[in-house]
Symmetry: C2
Subunit: 197 residues, 2 copies
């Protein structure tokens, strides 16, 4: 488990994409994106369309199929920083789940989980993802719009705009050191969501 790296890409402003991470400015062709896998410092770059095959072939990241899946993250006790990654194929698109154990406050590791679309921010706005933990008579659900892998997974997590778990909650939801995360993707119905509460 190497330290994580930024997954963002330098893209042209015409595409309306968020600014890239400062430490990753070497992509000269706006059509190319770097490897989006935060597990390794990978020099690869390529078009968005071939990111999935790169992640599968080079980084051996699995793809789970289906509208609702369960991702089992094992060895939750591993020291921070550690990432768990899975791809999720659904509704004609591929999504990247990143679960990160990180010490924002020294000595107090937390878990952060978010979902990125392997696509543009405009495409990402069409979806809603749900992460669900369910164990020991407790249930925690997080729903949000996925970010695009063209954005920076590091900043999503450092902003805390994702599912956040402290260690004690992670233990309550874990079974024998493994955390089962229920994942569902739907096409977003933004206007209905606000009205429901």
């Amino acid at each position: 488990y190497a330290p994580t790296r930024c997954a963002a890409a330098q893209t042209s402003t015409e595409q309306g994409v968020l600014p890239p991470c400062h430490h990753h400015e070497a992509v000269h062709d706006p059509q190319l994106v770097p490897c989006t896998c935060p597990l390794f410092s990978c020099p690869w770059e390529g078009h968005l369309e071939v990111v999935v095959s790169h992640l599968r072939q080079t980084h051996r990241i699995n793809i789970l199929q289906g509208a609702e899946i369960v991702f089992l993250a094992t060895d939750m006790h591993l020291p921070a920083p550690t990432d768990w990654i899975i791809m999720h194929s659904c509704l004609g698109h591929q999504f990247l789940l990143v679960l990160r154990k990180q010490e924002k406050y020294e000595g107090h590791p937390q878990f952060f989980a978010t979902m990125m679309l392997i696509g543009t921010p405009t495409q990402a706005d069409n979806f809603t993802y749900r992460l669900e933990l369910n164990r020991n008579q407790r249930r925690l659900k997080w729903e949000a719009t996925p970010r695009s892998v063209l954005e920076c997974v590091d900043s999503v997590i450092s902003d805390g705009d994702c599912l956040v778990l402290n260690t004690s909650l992670a233990q309550l939801f874990s079974d024998n050191g493994s955390l089962a995360i229920g994942i569902a993707i739907t096409t977003s119905k933004v206007h209905n969501v606000e009205a429901e509460i």
Copy 2:
């Protein structure tokens, strides 16, 4: 906003109640519970049946009625420690919602929300409460069994066995400094919950 105090009571072991907080050992009659309001250091003690009227009359804590309610916590910017309290009357019982802003890690206030039944732990086991935040295309739901006010709200929160929000998430879910928390109580169906994920 005075510093919070422990809401637990010294109770007889015959009742199978959890141990009390160490700093609150002055209740000699096992039938008496201290004031469960964590807002004030209140010398009152009385039977469980009269806790609600004490909270209403002495501490002016409002009761909201109905299976599903929305509690609006205002002035979320107030410095930690701060508590927001409301009673919720539902299914023939009264519940106490405690929302606490606290600095577990210095300089990093977090929000903790939990629901306590104004009743015994055995009664509490019959219910499930749900807290829901819903704004800015994000939704966060927490479901759990309420604790009894005979247990210690401080330890529930220090264990982190509750809804936990960092400051940035609290801001995303807030509107003009106020946080709307959807609250629902149901009779618990423990065996079904585990099977659903």
